[in-house]
């Protein structure tokens, strides 16, 4: 019964000052918001902090949400992706991101952990970890719009027309961004040997 309350009803109650409604919105969306932030920031602590900031932003801008224009989830994912991109930009300016081909310490640590795991794991598992790691580095290097579209399509499973609507751009632009991002990663994986 309680779980069937629609997002729109929870938003309305939150705006009317109902703390329980806001708490339920948080419970319902904390994982997808954290996931969006994590795929962009690629750091669990930064993603956790970003999640909190996104919910603060959500509350402050809740009055601008118009249920006739978009679904609440789509509106929230847009907020989350934009905030995560901004955080990523700040982290990059502070030198806290792990850019591709940079011999950063985090990179070395990750490689060492993979090697350590290789001693006990089957070869396929290591290969799969390395492939995922390569994909992560590629995603980090993508231009911002491509990165946003990539994360929202593949990890939040939004349809491309929904992304186009929320980004206020044409479906063609979104399709091209997604294609370029996916193609870049496919080519990189092929070079890396992750794709046969």
């Amino acid at each position: 019964m309680a779980t069937s309350t629609s997002d729109e009803d929870l938003v309305r109650s939150t705006l009317d000052g109902d703390e329980e409604a806001f708490s339920r919105l948080f419970d319902r969306y904390r994982v997808p918001v954290y996931s969006t932030s994590y795929r962009i920031l690629q750091n669990p602590e930064a993603a956790r902090d970003a999640t909190q900031e996104i919910f603060v932003k959500l509350y402050r801008s809740l009055r601008t949400f118009d249920p006739r224009k978009s679904k609440f989830s789509t509106w929230l994912y847009r907020l989350a992706a934009n905030h995560a991109i901004d955080s990523w930009r700040s982290r990059r300016a502070r030198g806290e991101t792990r850019l591709p081909d940079e011999p950063a310490q985090a990179e070395r640590l990750l490689r060492e952990s993979i090697m350590a795991e290789a001693i006990q794991s089957p070869y396929e598992q290591v290969e799969s970890r390395e492939k995922v790691d390569e994909i992560r580095r590629c995603i980090e290097a993508l231009p911002e719009l491509q990165k946003k579209v990539f994360v929202l399509r593949y990890f939040q499973e939004l349809k491309l027309d929904e992304i186009a609507e929320m980004e206020d751009c044409s479906l063609g632009t979104v399709k091209t961004s997604l294609f370029r991002a996916t193609q870049t990663i496919r080519r990189r994986l092929r070079r890396f040997g992750g794709i046969q």
């Binding site: 705006l15 009317d16 000052g17 703390e19 806001f22 708490s23 948080f26 419970d27 904390r30 994982v31 954290y34 996931s35 994590y38 795929r39 669990p44 956790r48 999640t51 909190q52 919910f55 603060v56 509350y59 402050r60 006739r68 799969s128 492939k131 995922v132 994909i135 992560r136 399509r153 593949y154 990890f155 349809k159 491309l160 479906l171 399709k175 091209t176 997604l178 294609f179 996916t182 193609q183 990663i185 496919r186 994986l189 092929r190 992750g194 794709i195 046969q196």
Partner: protein, 151 residues
């Protein structure tokens, strides 16, 4: 084979087909072509492999204690902001009702126009009757007859 090659699909279209998105050519045509063309089948298979690799990228779980602490901080923030907001003021429900009414009017223009017309006719009829305008201005006598018939 030559026929199949001459109809190669773009990589973008193959990817959109795989994702179930709108494609330039019908899905059936793409399926038929991929069944015959090794090159396009290869591209499609690479994208399929990439999508499957994406699913292997796991989300690091946060301990429940982290979530609870975060929720407690957010709810504290919520209470602080809520108490600061003007929505506790007496005129807030009135503003909300106006906002809901305006939204209803935008969503349902025909009933709204009918309501506005009826309300205007009623107000005119009352104004003319109460102030006896039909005696001062003869033309309003005809108008009031029409309004009474309409109402």
């Amino acid at each position: 084979m030559m026929r199949a090659e001459s109809q190669h699909h773009t990589e973008e279209d193959l990817l959109m087909y795989l994702l179930g998105e709108e494609t330039l050519r019908p899905a059936g045509e793409i399926e038929g072509h991929v069944a015959e063309c090794g090159e396009c089948a290869g591209v499609l298979s690479e994208y399929r492999e990439l999508l499957s690799a994406l699913r292997e990228w796991e989300l690091p779980e946060l301990p429940e204690a982290d979530w609870s602490a975060q929720k407690a901080r957010l709810l504290a923030f919520f209470r602080l902001e809520r108490d600061r907001e003007p929505h506790r003021a007496f005129w807030y429900p009135l503003l909300q009702a106006l906002d809901h009414g305006w939204n209803y009017a935008l969503e349902n223009p025909l009933p709204t126009m009918a309501f506005v017309a009826a309300a205007t006719a009623f107000a005119l009829e009352r104004t003319i009757s109460v102030f006896a305008l039909d005696r001062l201005l003869p033309v309003t006598g005809e108008l009031i007859e029409i309004l009474r018939q309409v109402l």
